[in-house]
Symmetry: C2
Subunit: 285 residues, 2 copies
Amino acid sequence: MTGMDRPPAYDIHPGNVTDKVIASFTMKTAREKQLLASLVSHLHGFARENRLTHEEWAKAVGFLFRCGEISNEKRDEFMLLSDVLGLSSFVDMTDAPEGATEGSVLGPFYASDSPERPVGADLRPGGEGEPVLVRGRVLDAAGKPISGAMIDMWQTAENGLYATQDEALPDQAFRCKMRCDDAAGFSFVTVMPGPYKVPDDGPVGDLLHAGGRTAWRPAHFHFMILAPGHRALTTEIFFEGDPYLGTDAVFGVRKSLIVAPQEERGQKLVDLTFRLVPAALSDAA
Amino acid sequence: MTGMDRPPAYDIHPGNVTDKVIASFTMKTAREKQLLASLVSHLHGFARENRLTHEEWAKAVGFLFRCGEISNEKRDEFMLLSDVLGLSSFVDMTDAPEGATEGSVLGPFYASDSPERPVGADLRPGGEGEPVLVRGRVLDAAGKPISGAMIDMWQTAENGLYATQDEALPDQAFRCKMRCDDAAGFSFVTVMPGPYKVPDDGPVGDLLHAGGRTAWRPAHFHFMILAPGHRALTTEIFFEGDPYLGTDAVFGVRKSLIVAPQEERGQKLVDLTFRLVPAALSDAA
Protein backbone atom coordinates (compact mmCIF):
# COMPACT_ATOMS: atom_id res chain seq x y z
CA MET A 1 0.00 0.00 0.00
CA THR A 2 1.43 3.40 -0.92
CA GLY A 3 0.83 6.62 0.94
CA MET A 4 -1.57 7.69 -1.84
CA ASP A 5 -4.14 5.00 -1.23
CA ARG A 6 -3.66 4.75 2.50
CA PRO A 7 -7.15 4.98 4.00
CA PRO A 8 -7.84 8.41 5.47
CA ALA A 9 -7.68 8.70 9.26
CA TYR A 10 -11.44 9.23 9.46
CA ASP A 11 -12.05 5.69 8.31
CA ILE A 12 -12.12 4.86 12.00
CA HIS A 13 -13.84 1.97 13.73
CA PRO A 14 -13.29 0.25 17.07
CA GLY A 15 -11.02 -2.28 15.38
CA ASN A 16 -8.48 0.21 14.04
CA VAL A 17 -8.73 3.34 16.20
CA THR A 18 -6.11 2.18 18.69
CA ASP A 19 -3.53 1.68 15.93
CA LYS A 20 -4.46 4.98 14.33
CA VAL A 21 -4.02 6.88 17.57
CA ILE A 22 -0.66 5.21 18.17
CA ALA A 23 0.46 5.96 14.61
CA SER A 24 -0.48 9.62 15.03
CA PHE A 25 2.32 10.10 17.57
CA THR A 26 5.83 10.25 16.17
CA MET A 27 7.76 11.23 19.35
CA LYS A 28 11.46 11.95 19.47
CA THR A 29 12.77 8.75 21.06
CA ALA A 30 11.92 5.07 20.73
CA ARG A 31 11.27 4.96 24.48
CA GLU A 32 8.73 7.78 24.35
CA LYS A 33 7.04 6.12 21.40
CA GLN A 34 6.91 2.82 23.28
CA LEU A 35 5.39 4.41 26.39
CA LEU A 36 2.79 6.31 24.39
CA ALA A 37 1.82 3.22 22.40
CA SER A 38 1.53 1.13 25.55
CA LEU A 39 -0.49 3.81 27.33
CA VAL A 40 -2.97 4.12 24.46
CA SER A 41 -3.26 0.31 24.17
CA HIS A 42 -4.01 -0.05 27.87
CA LEU A 43 -6.47 2.85 27.94
CA HIS A 44 -8.39 1.54 24.94
CA GLY A 45 -8.05 -2.01 26.27
CA PHE A 46 -9.64 -0.92 29.53
CA ALA A 47 -12.56 0.62 27.62
CA ARG A 48 -12.90 -2.35 25.26
CA GLU A 49 -12.70 -5.18 27.78
CA ASN A 50 -15.25 -3.56 30.04
CA ARG A 51 -17.50 -2.19 27.30
CA LEU A 52 -17.15 1.12 29.11
CA THR A 53 -20.31 3.21 28.83
CA HIS A 54 -20.40 6.93 28.15
CA GLU A 55 -21.64 7.50 31.66
CA GLU A 56 -18.77 5.56 33.24
CA TRP A 57 -16.24 7.29 31.00
CA ALA A 58 -17.62 10.70 31.95
CA LYS A 59 -17.40 9.73 35.63
CA ALA A 60 -13.75 8.75 35.22
CA VAL A 61 -12.84 12.00 33.45
CA GLY A 62 -14.79 13.92 36.10
CA PHE A 63 -12.88 12.08 38.83
CA LEU A 64 -9.56 13.30 37.44
CA PHE A 65 -10.96 16.81 37.09
CA ARG A 66 -11.91 16.76 40.78
CA CYS A 67 -8.43 15.49 41.68
CA GLY A 68 -7.11 18.59 39.94
CA GLU A 69 -9.52 20.87 41.78
CA ILE A 70 -8.35 19.73 45.23
CA SER A 71 -4.63 19.66 44.42
CA ASN A 72 -2.32 22.53 45.25
CA GLU A 73 1.30 23.18 46.19
CA LYS A 74 0.89 21.21 49.39
CA ARG A 75 -1.41 18.48 48.14
CA ASP A 76 -0.97 16.20 45.15
CA GLU A 77 -4.11 14.14 44.74
CA PHE A 78 -2.66 12.41 41.68
CA MET A 79 0.32 11.14 43.67
CA LEU A 80 -2.11 9.95 46.31
CA LEU A 81 -4.16 8.18 43.62
CA SER A 82 -1.03 6.46 42.35
CA ASP A 83 -0.24 5.48 45.95
CA VAL A 84 -3.62 3.98 46.86
CA LEU A 85 -3.79 2.07 43.55
CA GLY A 86 -0.45 0.49 44.40
CA LEU A 87 1.21 1.95 41.31
CA SER A 88 3.80 3.89 43.30
CA SER A 89 4.76 0.75 45.23
CA PHE A 90 4.85 -1.28 42.04
CA VAL A 91 7.41 1.09 40.54
CA ASP A 92 9.29 1.28 43.86
CA MET A 93 9.71 -2.48 43.74
CA THR A 94 10.38 -3.01 40.06
CA ASP A 95 12.70 -0.07 39.47
CA ALA A 96 14.89 -1.21 42.34
CA PRO A 97 18.50 -2.35 42.17
CA GLU A 98 19.58 -5.73 43.56
CA GLY A 99 21.50 -5.49 46.81
CA ALA A 100 20.11 -2.17 48.01
CA THR A 101 17.75 -1.61 50.92
CA GLU A 102 14.18 -1.88 49.65
CA GLY A 103 12.59 1.41 48.68
CA SER A 104 9.15 2.64 49.65
CA VAL A 105 6.82 5.47 48.74
CA LEU A 106 8.07 9.02 48.83
CA GLY A 107 4.58 10.16 49.76
CA PRO A 108 3.24 13.69 49.54
CA PHE A 109 4.88 15.11 52.69
CA TYR A 110 8.51 15.38 51.65
CA ALA A 111 9.76 18.94 52.01
CA SER A 112 13.14 19.60 50.45
CA ASP A 113 14.00 22.47 52.79
CA SER A 114 14.78 20.49 55.93
CA PRO A 115 17.61 22.05 57.98
CA GLU A 116 21.00 20.37 58.11
CA ARG A 117 21.67 19.14 61.65
CA PRO A 118 24.84 17.64 63.16
CA VAL A 119 25.12 13.97 64.07
CA GLY A 120 23.48 13.43 67.44
CA ALA A 121 21.00 16.28 67.07
CA ASP A 122 17.75 16.31 69.01
CA LEU A 123 14.84 16.86 66.60
CA ARG A 124 12.27 17.35 69.37
CA PRO A 125 11.17 20.98 69.77
CA GLY A 126 11.98 21.94 73.34
CA GLY A 127 13.21 18.43 74.00
CA GLU A 128 9.61 17.36 74.72
CA GLY A 129 8.16 13.87 74.21
CA GLU A 130 9.50 10.42 75.05
CA PRO A 131 12.92 10.27 73.42
CA VAL A 132 13.98 7.57 71.01
CA LEU A 133 17.52 7.35 69.74
CA VAL A 134 17.75 6.55 66.04
CA ARG A 135 21.15 5.57 64.81
CA GLY A 136 22.42 3.84 61.74
CA ARG A 137 24.94 3.52 58.98
CA VAL A 138 25.03 3.77 55.23
CA LEU A 139 26.85 0.86 53.62
CA ASP A 140 27.68 -0.20 50.11
CA ALA A 141 26.81 -3.60 48.65
CA ALA A 142 30.00 -5.09 50.12
CA GLY A 143 29.11 -3.84 53.59
CA LYS A 144 31.65 -0.99 53.60
CA PRO A 145 30.70 2.45 54.95
CA ILE A 146 30.05 4.91 52.13
CA SER A 147 32.03 8.07 52.53
CA GLY A 148 30.09 11.32 52.08
CA ALA A 149 26.66 9.80 52.66
CA MET A 150 23.86 12.14 53.65
CA ILE A 151 20.43 11.40 55.07
CA ASP A 152 17.27 13.45 54.65
CA MET A 153 14.56 12.27 57.04
CA TRP A 154 11.03 13.33 57.95
CA GLN A 155 8.40 11.89 60.24
CA THR A 156 5.23 12.84 62.05
CA ALA A 157 5.05 13.76 65.71
CA GLU A 158 3.35 11.30 68.07
CA ASN A 159 -0.02 12.77 67.04
CA GLY A 160 0.41 11.61 63.43
CA LEU A 161 0.91 15.12 62.01
CA TYR A 162 3.97 16.35 60.15
CA ALA A 163 5.35 19.65 61.35
CA THR A 164 4.41 21.11 57.96
CA GLN A 165 0.77 20.25 58.77
CA ASP A 166 0.63 21.14 62.45
CA GLU A 167 0.54 24.81 63.32
CA ALA A 168 1.36 23.98 66.93
CA LEU A 169 4.83 22.78 65.88
CA PRO A 170 7.80 24.71 64.50
CA ASP A 171 7.80 24.10 60.74
CA GLN A 172 11.14 22.27 60.85
CA ALA A 173 10.51 19.89 63.75
CA PHE A 174 11.02 16.14 63.31
CA ARG A 175 12.88 16.43 60.05
CA CYS A 176 16.47 17.09 59.07
CA LYS A 177 19.30 16.61 56.64
CA MET A 178 22.42 15.09 58.24
CA ARG A 179 25.93 14.45 56.91
CA CYS A 180 27.13 11.07 58.12
CA ASP A 181 30.37 10.84 60.13
CA ASP A 182 33.58 9.25 58.88
CA ALA A 183 32.22 5.77 59.58
CA ALA A 184 29.07 6.63 57.54
CA GLY A 185 27.14 6.77 60.78
CA PHE A 186 24.28 9.04 61.77
CA SER A 187 22.17 9.43 64.89
CA PHE A 188 19.48 11.70 66.20
CA VAL A 189 17.02 11.87 69.04
CA THR A 190 13.36 12.11 68.21
CA VAL A 191 9.97 10.67 69.24
CA MET A 192 8.20 7.66 67.82
CA PRO A 193 6.00 8.78 64.92
CA GLY A 194 2.25 8.16 65.01
CA PRO A 195 0.00 6.45 62.48
CA TYR A 196 -2.14 8.77 60.35
CA LYS A 197 -4.75 8.85 57.66
CA VAL A 198 -3.90 9.90 54.13
CA PRO A 199 -6.04 12.92 53.16
CA ASP A 200 -9.46 11.34 52.60
CA ASP A 201 -11.63 14.41 52.09
CA GLY A 202 -11.15 14.46 48.29
CA PRO A 203 -11.95 12.19 45.35
CA VAL A 204 -9.29 9.63 46.33
CA GLY A 205 -10.83 9.49 49.80
CA ASP A 206 -14.22 8.93 48.16
CA LEU A 207 -12.69 6.02 46.28
CA LEU A 208 -11.20 4.54 49.47
CA HIS A 209 -14.54 4.86 51.25
CA ALA A 210 -16.47 3.40 48.31
CA GLY A 211 -14.01 0.52 48.23
CA GLY A 212 -14.43 -0.27 51.91
CA ARG A 213 -10.76 0.54 52.49
CA THR A 214 -9.05 2.31 55.33
CA ALA A 215 -7.16 5.58 54.86
CA TRP A 216 -4.77 4.75 57.74
CA ARG A 217 -1.06 4.28 57.33
CA PRO A 218 1.12 2.59 59.94
CA ALA A 219 3.60 4.88 61.75
CA HIS A 220 6.92 5.31 59.94
CA PHE A 221 10.11 7.26 59.47
CA HIS A 222 10.81 8.46 55.95
CA PHE A 223 14.39 8.42 54.77
CA MET A 224 16.04 9.64 51.63
CA ILE A 225 19.68 8.53 51.45
CA LEU A 226 22.11 10.22 49.11
CA ALA A 227 25.77 9.40 48.53
CA PRO A 228 28.20 10.39 45.77
CA GLY A 229 28.42 7.72 43.07
CA HIS A 230 25.50 5.78 44.50
CA ARG A 231 21.91 5.41 43.53
CA ALA A 232 19.65 7.49 45.77
CA LEU A 233 17.28 5.55 48.03
CA THR A 234 13.85 6.67 49.24
CA THR A 235 12.35 4.40 51.84
CA GLU A 236 10.34 4.08 55.04
CA ILE A 237 10.92 2.32 58.36
CA PHE A 238 7.93 0.72 60.10
CA PHE A 239 7.51 -0.78 63.59
CA GLU A 240 6.66 -4.26 64.72
CA GLY A 241 3.23 -4.53 66.31
CA ASP A 242 1.74 -1.53 64.52
CA PRO A 243 -1.95 -2.37 63.97
CA TYR A 244 -1.93 -0.86 60.47
CA LEU A 245 1.00 -2.85 59.05
CA GLY A 246 -1.32 -5.19 57.15
CA THR A 247 -3.67 -2.58 55.70
CA ASP A 248 -1.41 0.34 54.77
CA ALA A 249 -3.53 2.55 52.49
CA VAL A 250 -0.61 3.04 50.10
CA PHE A 251 0.95 -0.47 50.16
CA GLY A 252 4.29 0.91 51.38
CA VAL A 253 5.14 -1.72 54.00
CA ARG A 254 7.84 -4.30 53.20
CA LYS A 255 8.85 -7.06 55.59
CA SER A 256 12.49 -5.97 55.41
CA LEU A 257 11.54 -2.44 56.46
CA ILE A 258 9.84 -3.38 59.75
CA VAL A 259 12.03 -2.94 62.82
CA ALA A 260 11.58 -3.67 66.52
CA PRO A 261 12.75 -0.76 68.72
CA GLN A 262 15.17 -1.90 71.47
CA GLU A 263 16.02 -0.53 74.90
CA GLU A 264 19.51 0.75 75.69
CA ARG A 265 20.28 2.27 79.08
CA GLY A 266 16.60 2.89 79.65
CA GLN A 267 16.12 4.67 76.31
CA LYS A 268 14.31 3.46 73.24
CA LEU A 269 16.69 2.71 70.40
CA VAL A 270 16.12 2.14 66.69
CA ASP A 271 19.15 0.78 64.89
CA LEU A 272 19.18 0.99 61.11
CA THR A 273 21.39 -0.10 58.27
CA PHE A 274 20.91 1.28 54.78
CA ARG A 275 22.59 -0.27 51.76
CA LEU A 276 23.14 1.60 48.53
CA VAL A 277 24.42 0.34 45.20
CA PRO A 278 26.60 2.23 42.75
CA ALA A 279 24.65 4.50 40.41
CA ALA A 280 25.98 2.70 37.35
CA LEU A 281 24.95 -0.78 38.50
CA SER A 282 21.42 0.30 39.17
CA ASP A 283 20.68 0.76 35.47
CA ALA A 284 21.59 -2.83 34.73
CA ALA A 285 19.53 -4.26 37.59
CA MET B 1 -5.73 -21.47 53.80
CA THR B 2 -7.72 -19.88 56.61
CA GLY B 3 -7.90 -16.21 57.41
CA MET B 4 -5.54 -16.80 60.32
CA ASP B 5 -2.57 -17.84 58.25
CA ARG B 6 -3.28 -15.65 55.28
CA PRO B 7 -0.01 -13.85 54.55
CA PRO B 8 -0.03 -10.26 55.80
CA ALA B 9 -0.52 -7.55 53.19
CA TYR B 10 3.05 -6.34 53.62
CA ASP B 11 4.37 -9.55 52.13
CA ILE B 12 4.28 -7.67 48.86
CA HIS B 13 6.35 -8.29 45.77
CA PRO B 14 5.88 -7.42 42.10
CA GLY B 15 4.25 -10.80 41.52
CA ASN B 16 1.40 -10.37 44.01
CA VAL B 17 0.91 -6.65 44.52
CA THR B 18 -1.64 -6.29 41.71
CA ASP B 19 -3.88 -8.98 43.23
CA LYS B 20 -3.46 -7.48 46.70
CA VAL B 21 -4.48 -4.03 45.53
CA ILE B 22 -7.52 -5.47 43.73
CA ALA B 23 -8.47 -7.51 46.78
CA SER B 24 -8.25 -4.43 48.99
CA PHE B 25 -11.28 -2.90 47.24
CA THR B 26 -14.65 -4.37 48.13
CA MET B 27 -16.96 -1.89 46.28
CA LYS B 28 -20.73 -1.99 46.40
CA THR B 29 -21.54 -3.48 42.99
CA ALA B 30 -20.01 -6.18 40.84
CA ARG B 31 -19.63 -3.63 38.03
CA GLU B 32 -17.64 -1.22 40.21
CA LYS B 33 -15.46 -4.08 41.40
CA GLN B 34 -14.86 -5.17 37.79
CA LEU B 35 -13.91 -1.66 36.67
CA LEU B 36 -11.53 -1.15 39.61
CA ALA B 37 -9.87 -4.53 39.09
CA SER B 38 -9.45 -3.87 35.38
CA LEU B 39 -8.09 -0.38 35.99
CA VAL B 40 -5.51 -1.63 38.50
CA SER B 41 -4.50 -4.50 36.19
CA HIS B 42 -3.97 -2.15 33.26
CA LEU B 43 -2.10 0.45 35.33
CA HIS B 44 0.25 -2.14 36.79
CA GLY B 45 0.47 -3.88 33.43
CA PHE B 46 1.58 -0.63 31.85
CA ALA B 47 4.31 -0.24 34.49
CA ARG B 48 5.36 -3.90 34.29
CA GLU B 49 5.49 -4.30 30.51
CA ASN B 50 7.54 -1.15 30.10
CA ARG B 51 9.69 -1.57 33.22
CA LEU B 52 8.61 1.96 34.05
CA THR B 53 11.32 3.87 35.89
CA HIS B 54 10.77 6.12 38.87
CA GLU B 55 11.62 9.10 36.76
CA GLU B 56 9.06 8.22 34.09
CA TRP B 57 6.42 7.49 36.70
CA ALA B 58 7.07 10.84 38.40
CA LYS B 59 6.76 12.58 35.01
CA ALA B 60 3.39 10.91 34.39
CA VAL B 61 2.03 11.90 37.81
CA GLY B 62 3.38 15.42 37.29
CA PHE B 63 1.67 15.57 33.90
CA LEU B 64 -1.72 14.89 35.49
CA PHE B 65 -0.96 17.46 38.20
CA ARG B 66 -0.29 20.07 35.51
CA CYS B 67 -3.53 19.11 33.74
CA GLY B 68 -5.29 19.93 37.00
CA GLU B 69 -3.49 23.25 37.35
CA ILE B 70 -4.66 24.53 33.95
CA SER B 71 -8.23 23.24 34.23
CA ASN B 72 -11.09 25.44 35.36
CA GLU B 73 -14.83 25.88 34.82
CA LYS B 74 -14.28 26.68 31.17
CA ARG B 75 -11.44 24.29 30.44
CA ASP B 76 -11.23 20.57 31.10
CA GLU B 77 -7.72 19.38 30.25
CA PHE B 78 -8.62 15.81 31.27
CA MET B 79 -11.44 15.70 28.73
CA LEU B 80 -9.02 17.05 26.15
CA LEU B 81 -6.49 14.37 27.11
CA SER B 82 -9.13 11.68 26.66
CA ASP B 83 -9.99 13.24 23.29
CA VAL B 84 -6.45 13.39 21.88
CA LEU B 85 -5.70 9.85 23.07
CA GLY B 86 -8.75 8.65 21.12
CA LEU B 87 -10.42 7.33 24.27
CA SER B 88 -13.46 9.58 23.89
CA SER B 89 -13.94 8.43 20.30
CA PHE B 90 -13.43 4.82 21.30
CA VAL B 91 -16.29 5.06 23.79
CA ASP B 92 -18.39 7.08 21.31
CA MET B 93 -18.07 4.19 18.87
CA THR B 94 -18.39 1.23 21.18
CA ASP B 95 -21.18 2.54 23.42
CA ALA B 96 -23.31 3.24 20.35
CA PRO B 97 -26.61 1.64 19.39
CA GLU B 98 -27.09 -0.08 16.01
CA GLY B 99 -29.23 1.87 13.58
CA ALA B 100 -28.59 5.34 15.00
CA THR B 101 -26.56 8.12 13.40
CA GLU B 102 -22.94 7.75 14.47
CA GLY B 103 -21.96 9.78 17.49
CA SER B 104 -18.90 11.95 17.87
CA VAL B 105 -17.10 13.81 20.63
CA LEU B 106 -19.03 16.23 22.80
CA GLY B 107 -15.89 18.32 23.16
CA PRO B 108 -15.25 20.97 25.77
CA PHE B 109 -17.31 23.80 24.22
CA TYR B 110 -20.85 22.64 24.85
CA ALA B 111 -22.80 25.23 26.83
CA SER B 112 -26.13 24.04 28.14
CA ASP B 113 -27.69 27.53 28.22
CA SER B 114 -28.26 28.05 24.50
CA PRO B 115 -31.44 30.00 23.76
CA GLU B 116 -34.46 28.24 22.25
CA ARG B 117 -35.08 29.58 18.74
CA PRO B 118 -37.96 28.93 16.33
CA VAL B 119 -37.59 26.80 13.21
CA GLY B 120 -36.08 28.95 10.47
CA ALA B 121 -34.16 31.25 12.85
CA ASP B 122 -31.09 33.15 11.70
CA LEU B 123 -28.23 32.48 14.13
CA ARG B 124 -25.95 35.15 12.62
CA PRO B 125 -25.63 38.24 14.80
CA GLY B 126 -26.82 41.18 12.70
CA GLY B 127 -27.35 38.82 9.76
CA GLU B 128 -23.68 39.18 8.84
CA GLY B 129 -21.55 36.57 7.06
CA GLU B 130 -22.25 34.38 4.03
CA PRO B 131 -25.47 32.57 4.86
CA VAL B 132 -25.84 28.82 4.78
CA LEU B 133 -29.21 27.18 5.28
CA VAL B 134 -29.04 24.09 7.49
CA ARG B 135 -32.11 21.91 7.49
CA GLY B 136 -32.86 18.39 8.50
CA ARG B 137 -35.08 15.87 10.13
CA VAL B 138 -34.99 13.56 13.10
CA LEU B 139 -36.13 10.03 12.22
CA ASP B 140 -36.52 6.78 14.05
CA ALA B 141 -34.90 3.51 12.99
CA ALA B 142 -37.82 2.78 10.63
CA GLY B 143 -37.41 6.18 8.95
CA LYS B 144 -40.44 7.79 10.59
CA PRO B 145 -40.27 11.34 11.93
CA ILE B 146 -39.96 11.38 15.72
CA SER B 147 -42.53 13.60 17.35
CA GLY B 148 -41.23 15.99 20.00
CA ALA B 149 -37.61 15.90 18.87
CA MET B 150 -35.38 18.79 19.89
CA ILE B 151 -31.97 19.83 18.66
CA ASP B 152 -29.26 21.62 20.59
CA MET B 153 -26.51 22.86 18.25
CA TRP B 154 -23.31 24.84 18.60
CA GLN B 155 -20.58 25.84 16.15
CA THR B 156 -17.77 28.31 15.72
CA ALA B 157 -17.98 31.45 13.61
CA GLU B 158 -15.99 31.52 10.38
CA ASN B 159 -12.92 32.53 12.41
CA GLY B 160 -12.91 29.22 14.30
CA LEU B 161 -13.98 30.72 17.61
CA TYR B 162 -17.10 29.82 19.56
CA ALA B 163 -19.18 32.76 20.72
CA THR B 164 -18.34 31.74 24.28
CA GLN B 165 -14.65 32.33 23.43
CA ASP B 166 -14.91 35.44 21.28
CA GLU B 167 -15.59 38.70 23.07
CA ALA B 168 -16.42 40.34 19.75
CA LEU B 169 -19.52 38.13 19.44
CA PRO B 170 -22.73 38.08 21.50
CA ASP B 171 -22.40 35.14 23.90
CA GLN B 172 -25.33 33.26 22.32
CA ALA B 173 -24.42 33.57 18.64
CA PHE B 174 -24.17 30.48 16.45
CA ARG B 175 -25.84 28.17 18.91
CA CYS B 176 -29.44 27.33 19.77
CA LYS B 177 -31.96 24.86 21.01
CA MET B 178 -34.82 24.24 18.55
CA ARG B 179 -38.05 22.22 18.82
CA CYS B 180 -38.64 20.38 15.57
CA ASP B 181 -41.88 20.94 13.65
CA ASP B 182 -44.66 18.37 13.24
CA ALA B 183 -42.68 16.55 10.55
CA ALA B 184 -39.63 16.40 12.92
CA GLY B 185 -37.97 19.02 10.75
CA PHE B 186 -35.67 21.85 11.74
CA SER B 187 -33.89 24.60 9.86
CA PHE B 188 -31.76 27.60 10.61
CA VAL B 189 -29.56 30.08 8.81
CA THR B 190 -25.96 30.38 9.92
CA VAL B 191 -22.43 30.64 8.50
CA MET B 192 -20.00 27.84 7.73
CA PRO B 193 -17.89 27.14 10.82
CA GLY B 194 -14.12 27.43 10.68
CA PRO B 195 -11.43 24.93 11.61
CA TYR B 196 -9.68 25.58 14.91
CA LYS B 197 -6.96 24.34 17.20
CA VAL B 198 -7.78 22.59 20.45
CA PRO B 199 -6.20 24.50 23.35
CA ASP B 200 -2.52 23.63 22.98
CA ASP B 201 -0.91 25.90 25.59
CA GLY B 202 -1.14 23.30 28.35
CA PRO B 203 0.27 19.83 29.09
CA VAL B 204 -1.92 18.16 26.45
CA GLY B 205 -0.63 20.66 23.91
CA ASP B 206 2.90 19.79 25.01
CA LEU B 207 2.08 16.15 24.35
CA LEU B 208 0.69 16.93 20.89
CA HIS B 209 3.77 18.98 20.03
CA ALA B 210 6.15 16.31 21.39
CA GLY B 211 4.29 13.73 19.35
CA GLY B 212 4.60 15.70 16.12
CA ARG B 213 0.83 15.98 15.96
CA THR B 214 -1.39 18.85 14.92
CA ALA B 215 -3.80 20.55 17.30
CA TRP B 216 -6.17 21.43 14.43
CA ARG B 217 -9.68 20.14 14.12
CA PRO B 218 -11.64 20.25 10.85
CA ALA B 219 -14.61 22.65 10.83
CA HIS B 220 -17.84 21.15 12.16
CA PHE B 221 -21.32 21.66 13.53
CA HIS B 222 -22.02 20.05 16.90
CA PHE B 223 -25.45 18.57 17.44
CA MET B 224 -27.13 17.07 20.45
CA ILE B 225 -30.45 15.47 19.53
CA LEU B 226 -33.02 14.70 22.17
CA ALA B 227 -36.43 13.04 21.74
CA PRO B 228 -38.82 11.47 24.24
CA GLY B 229 -38.36 7.70 24.50
CA HIS B 230 -35.21 7.78 22.41
CA ARG B 231 -31.55 7.54 23.21
CA ALA B 232 -29.88 10.96 23.09
CA LEU B 233 -27.33 11.49 20.32
CA THR B 234 -24.26 13.72 20.44
CA THR B 235 -22.50 14.10 17.12
CA GLU B 236 -20.67 16.37 14.70
CA ILE B 237 -21.09 17.18 11.03
CA PHE B 238 -17.96 17.74 8.91
CA PHE B 239 -17.47 19.05 5.36
CA GLU B 240 -16.02 17.42 2.29
CA GLY B 241 -12.72 18.95 1.23
CA ASP B 242 -11.73 20.19 4.68
CA PRO B 243 -7.92 19.90 4.83
CA TYR B 244 -8.02 18.66 8.43
CA LEU B 245 -10.42 15.73 7.93
CA GLY B 246 -7.60 13.20 7.98
CA THR B 247 -5.72 14.57 10.98
CA ASP B 248 -8.43 15.64 13.41
CA ALA B 249 -6.63 16.11 16.75
CA VAL B 250 -9.44 14.33 18.61
CA PHE B 251 -10.30 11.55 16.12
CA GLY B 252 -13.91 12.76 15.87
CA VAL B 253 -14.39 12.43 12.09
CA ARG B 254 -16.49 9.54 10.75
CA LYS B 255 -17.09 8.95 7.05
CA SER B 256 -20.86 8.92 7.60
CA LEU B 257 -20.67 12.37 9.24
CA ILE B 258 -19.02 14.17 6.31
CA VAL B 259 -21.43 16.15 4.12
CA ALA B 260 -21.04 18.15 0.92
CA PRO B 261 -22.89 21.48 1.09
CA GLN B 262 -25.19 22.03 -1.91
CA GLU B 263 -26.48 25.16 -3.65
CA GLU B 264 -30.21 25.96 -3.69
CA ARG B 265 -31.48 29.19 -5.27
CA GLY B 266 -28.00 30.68 -4.97
CA GLN B 267 -27.67 29.86 -1.27
CA LYS B 268 -25.50 27.25 0.38
CA LEU B 269 -27.52 24.38 1.81
CA VAL B 270 -26.62 21.61 4.25
CA ASP B 271 -29.24 18.87 4.41
CA LEU B 272 -29.08 16.51 7.39
CA THR B 273 -30.87 13.43 8.61
CA PHE B 274 -30.44 12.19 12.16
CA ARG B 275 -31.61 8.76 13.23
CA LEU B 276 -32.32 7.86 16.84
CA VAL B 277 -33.14 4.50 18.37
CA PRO B 278 -35.48 3.85 21.27
CA ALA B 279 -33.89 4.31 24.68
CA ALA B 280 -34.67 0.73 25.69
CA LEU B 281 -33.10 -0.86 22.59
CA SER B 282 -29.85 1.02 23.06
CA ASP B 283 -28.97 -0.96 26.18
CA ALA B 284 -29.17 -4.24 24.30
CA ALA B 285 -27.08 -3.01 21.36
